[in-house]
Symmetry: C2
Subunit: 145 residues, 2 copies
């Protein structure tokens, strides 16, 4: 349901949020998030195109978050790399159905609506600063390598 | 989010439910559901292996539903062809995290839980016999061809 691309992008964003203050290279992020470096490089390009991360060249170059983690949601990240597509018209393009969905596609769209709502309401900040004893359970090692 | 395979399988099942009483060939289902016939043939094999459809050979052969539409949910169909995978342990296999999920993977799993719940509670019968003026909006032509 949630694609590997989206999952990997979220890991990278959580890593950058949890290790703010300096830029991180693709290799560094890949190591910390356990994502294949070639795959991650493409994902970072997508995040950069969508203006979720800044890319700086040079000796201390690498990626940083553009927005504060409190101003960035799971939805923003997922939409940047592998968008949740809502159904707004009959996918079978049946004549006369137009924008009115049948019960099947209404239910499919409702499922995606539930996911969208959850993702829109969850900030990256909540991922790295979740209250409770478990925090931060799957946080990545700080300053890895 | 919902794969094309799952969507196509659901169309086929809805067609069989809506056109019960006789068997339907792959070609017939493909035409009515607008699914490429080769792709559909593989999906029908999956549905058959999962014992959701019966396959009969011969002159009046084809596929029929094994269960009543009121006893068959969207979840059953999706799980047969492209299962919703819940997250029950850290996908990064981080040491010491074991079965306790971090906030990121808790949220991912929660999203899939929402979808699972909706799909488990929605029968195929409700797809073809939904109350209201829209019924059956995207129903497929009966006895096509």
């Amino acid at each position: 349901m949630i694609s590997q691309t989206a999952e990997y992008a979220l890991r990278a964003i959580v890593f950058l949020a949890d290790n703010a203050g300096e830029a991180h290279t693709t290799e560094e992020i890949a190591r910390a998030t356990k994502v294949p470096v070639g795959y991650l490089a493409k994902i970072m390009q997508g995040l950069s195109r969508s203006r979720l991360v800044n890319s700086q060249r040079g000796l201390h170059g690498g990626f940083t978050l553009v927005r504060q983690p409190s101003d960035l949601t799971i939805y923003d990240v997922v939409q940047a790399v592998d968008p949740i597509m809502r159904i707004d018209r009959c996918p079978l393009q049946l004549e006369g159905h137009g924008e009115e969905l049948c019960p099947l596609h209404r239910t499919m769209d409702k499922a995606m609506g539930h996911v969208e709502e959850l993702f829109r309401s969850t900030t990256i900040d909540r991922m790295i600063n979740a209250p409770g004893a478990n925090r931060p359970l799957c946080s990545f090692p700080r300053n890895p390598g």
